[in-house]
């Protein structure tokens, strides 16, 4: 016990004497979480202050283009810039000056009205309601609303815009159909024949805690994901710490001392786990107190703190186990630092920090189950967003603990084998 305490105290001294390293350990994760949350907040906000400038080429000048324009304005997501020439708009978008141009073709409103009128008249004639003789059917060319996207635009944005425009056009078409029937069936414009409001609507049901809906927001999503990312980055300084001991000769001295490698690693584990917990506490404080000042939602940790700390302890242990193994196996800092950093990014990607696991290809979904960051992230989401009890996070924290035990044991066995005497 005395040796473990001495090892722990030595690690504390080494850490606090490296001011630059300490700043990196504590400040960088905070900078990361603030930056990412600010950037991603717009995805979650229903009312967005940031408007994306888009070009509209209105060749229609009719009801449809007016409706599209007013709907786009009403969405408050876009800043509408009218452009006269289709070729100019196309060039500006393909050069990357704008992300999107919408070209509304000439006579779209007139032709749509004609087409619907023809269809309605045809239907009514079939029922014998149409009094007059059905007019000669005029051949109308199909119309296309053209969308130009900046080639660098992400697919998710494209899909979302296309769906939005599609929905707008469907709505306009439906309204036009209703209007045509109304005109055919009654001369009194004030008479309501059709209820045009949507019959089917959506309601998202949220988890409830203490009669209060738990509405997810960017902060509740980002804090756990990026906290975990920061926690796992501890493998970089930890592995460097071990490699440094080997290169400066202190490890050789320790090998001649009557102390086990497990005790040496134990001291490091205690100190770096404390660092993980402190990092987490700082991130919570940022989420609770700083985020509202930045216009972001406040991080809600009500009644969750003990479980959050528990998940952090086990996530931290998993990260530390990996760091101990990497530091033991690596021969130089040039090996451990880039490998550690890259490996964390890979684990984060596999774990669903950037792209949700459900959106991944099947192979990657299967592989994500092997990432300790996936276990940690699920445990955090369980606590932050799913309002679960302790029993429900037991599988995830057990996996994290098992990972720590396995990696540490491998490190100890590897060290023993390598230095077997």
């Amino acid at each position: 016990m005395h040796k473990l305490w001495a090892s722990t105290y030595k690690e504390i001294l080494l850490l606090i004497r490296d001011f630059g390293g300490l700043v990196i350990l504590f400040v960088m994760p905070l900078v990361l979480i603030i930056t990412i949350t600010l950037i991603q907040d717009s995805t979650f906000k229903t009312v967005n202050d940031t408007k994306i400038p888009i070009l509209i080429v209105d060749q229609d000048k009719g009801v449809i283009s007016e409706t599209i324009l007013s709907d786009l304005k009403a969405s408050e997501s876009f800043e509408i810039i009218l452009e006269k020439d289709e070729a100019d708009a196309k060039e500006l978008v393909f050069k990357g000056d704008y992300q999107l141009a919408i070209v509304i073709p000439e006579n779209l409103s007139i032709d749509l009205t004609k087409k619907i009128d023809q269809n309605v008249e045809g239907i009514l004639a079939k029922f014998g309601i149409e009094e007059e003789e059905v007019k000669q059917v005029q051949e109308l060319t199909k119309k296309e609303v053209m969308l130009f996207f900046d080639p660098a635009t992400q697919q998710a944005f494209k899909t979302s815009v296309k769906n939005g425009i599609d929905k707008m056009i469907s709505k306009i078409e439906t309204a036009a159909v209703y209007k045509a029937f109304q005109q055919q069936l009654t001369d009194d414009a004030s008479e309501v024949i059709f209820e045009t409001d949507s019959f089917i609507s959506f309601k998202e049901i949220m988890p409830v805690k203490n009669d209060k809906e738990l509405v997810p927001n960017s902060v509740q999503h980002n804090v756990p994901a990026w906290t975990l990312f920061a926690i796992f980055f501890i493998i970089v300084p930890l592995s460097i710490n071990i490699v440094k001991e080997k290169s400066q000769g202190t490890f050789v001295r320790l090998r001649t001392n009557p102390v086990s490698y497990a005790t040496v690693l134990g001291g490091k584990t205690i100190v770096y786990l404390t660092v993980c917990l402190l990092q987490f506490v700082f991130m919570l404080l940022i989420g609770v107190y700083l985020f509202p000042e930045l216009g972001l939602p406040r991080l809600d940790i009500a009644n969750r703190l003990p479980m959050l700390l528990l998940v952090t302890v086990f996530s931290g242990l998993a990260a530390i186990g990996l760091g101990l193994l990497l530091g033991t196996v690596a021969k130089t800092q040039e090996q451990s630092a880039p490998f550690g950093a890259t490996f964390v990014v890979i684990l984060a990607a596999m774990g669903g920090v950037w792209v949700p696991v459900f959106a991944m290809p099947k192979v990657m979904q299967a592989l994500s189950n092997l990432s300790p960051m996936n276990w940690g992230l699920n445990a955090y989401y369980d606590v932050f967003l799913r309002n679960v009890t302790f029993v429900e996070i037991v599988p995830e924290i057990s996996l994290l603990l098992l990972f720590f035990i396995s990696t540490t044991l491998i490190a100890i066995v590897y060290n023993e084998k390598k230095n077997a005497v």
């Binding site: 005395h2 040796k3 305490w5 001495a6 090892s7 105290y9 030595k10 001294l13 080494l14 004497r17 490296d18 400066q248 000769g249 202190t250 050789v252 001295r253 320790l254 090998r255 001649t256 001392n257 009557p258 102390v259 230095n419 077997a420 005497v421």
Partner: protein
């Protein structure tokens, strides 16, 4: 105190043995100098005796203990002063020594007293609370030595303990080692400073190509070669003048 029997070491992928069927006895209270050109096998032999590397074959006993059965016990009775400084640069001399002393289960007041005394004996008491990173090479060598003797080992191995230090530091180190030896510590020492070894060691062994090629008291060895005036002459006669660069 030390009995080495047919000890050999061949590194993986090496063409020849670094230490080959070496037999040697070192008595309690000796200051034994292990001398040899670069690559002769000095460090390999000491590393095996300190349980840092595994012998390919053979065995050795230190105070009746064998590394195969009593590794931990063995570690408690030996001290090693490595070639490297083997200290934490961002810790002070005292912090380094508290840490390494604790690894031998020395604690509390006893540890602090031993550290203070050793620092005083080696002229470092004024620098006790200064970081090792600010120390000169000679000062680091002295702290390196203290870190290896806090537990009062029965056998002390020193791998070139005076390399790269000034004359004053060298004298302090040698005098302190003599004092330790007077108190009963057996010393095994490697060095390229043959003049230093001639005056410091009670017995020397010249090692080359992994084998002891000459063994005896310095004066006896010098007398054994008619044209030799000192240990360096003996050394050159036995090992030749050819360069021994190796990578």
């Amino acid at each position: 105190m030390i009995e080495i029997q047919q000890l050999s070491k061949k590194y993986k992928d090496a063409e020849s043995f670094s230490v080959s069927n070496l037999d040697l006895s070192i008595a309690e209270g000796e200051i034994f100098g292990l001398l040899g050109p670069n690559g002769a096998g000095k460090t390999t032999l000491i590393s095996m005796l300190c349980s840092l590397i595994k012998p390919t074959s053979g065995n050795f006993l230190i105070d009746g203990l064998t590394y195969k059965k009593s590794k931990n016990q063995l570690k408690k009775i030996i001290g090693i002063v490595p070639q490297e400084y083997a200290l934490y640069n961002s810790l002070t001399a005292t912090e380094n020594l508290i840490y390494f002393g604790s690894m031998y289960d020395i604690k509390g007041k006893l540890l602090k007293e031993q550290i203070a005394l050793a620092l005083k004996n080696l002229g470092l008491e004024k620098f006790a609370n200064k970081k090792i990173g600010t120390f000169s090479g000679g000062m680091k060598r002295r702290v390196n030595l203290i870190a290896s003797i806090l537990h009062q080992p029965k056998v002390l191995f020193l791998d070139e303990p005076t390399v790269g230090v000034d004359v004053q530091s060298k004298n302090v180190i040698i005098e302190h080692l003599k004092e330790l030896n007077r108190k009963g510590t057996t010393i095994i020492y490697t060095s390229h400073h043959l003049n230093e070894a001639e005056h410091f060691c009670t017995r020397v062994g010249i090692i080359d190509h992994g084998s002891i090629i000459s063994l005896g008291k310095p004066k006896e060895l010098i007398q054994g070669f008619a044209e030799a005036n000192n240990l360096e002459d003996v050394f050159i006669t036995l090992t030749g003048k050819a360069l021994r660069d190796h990578a």
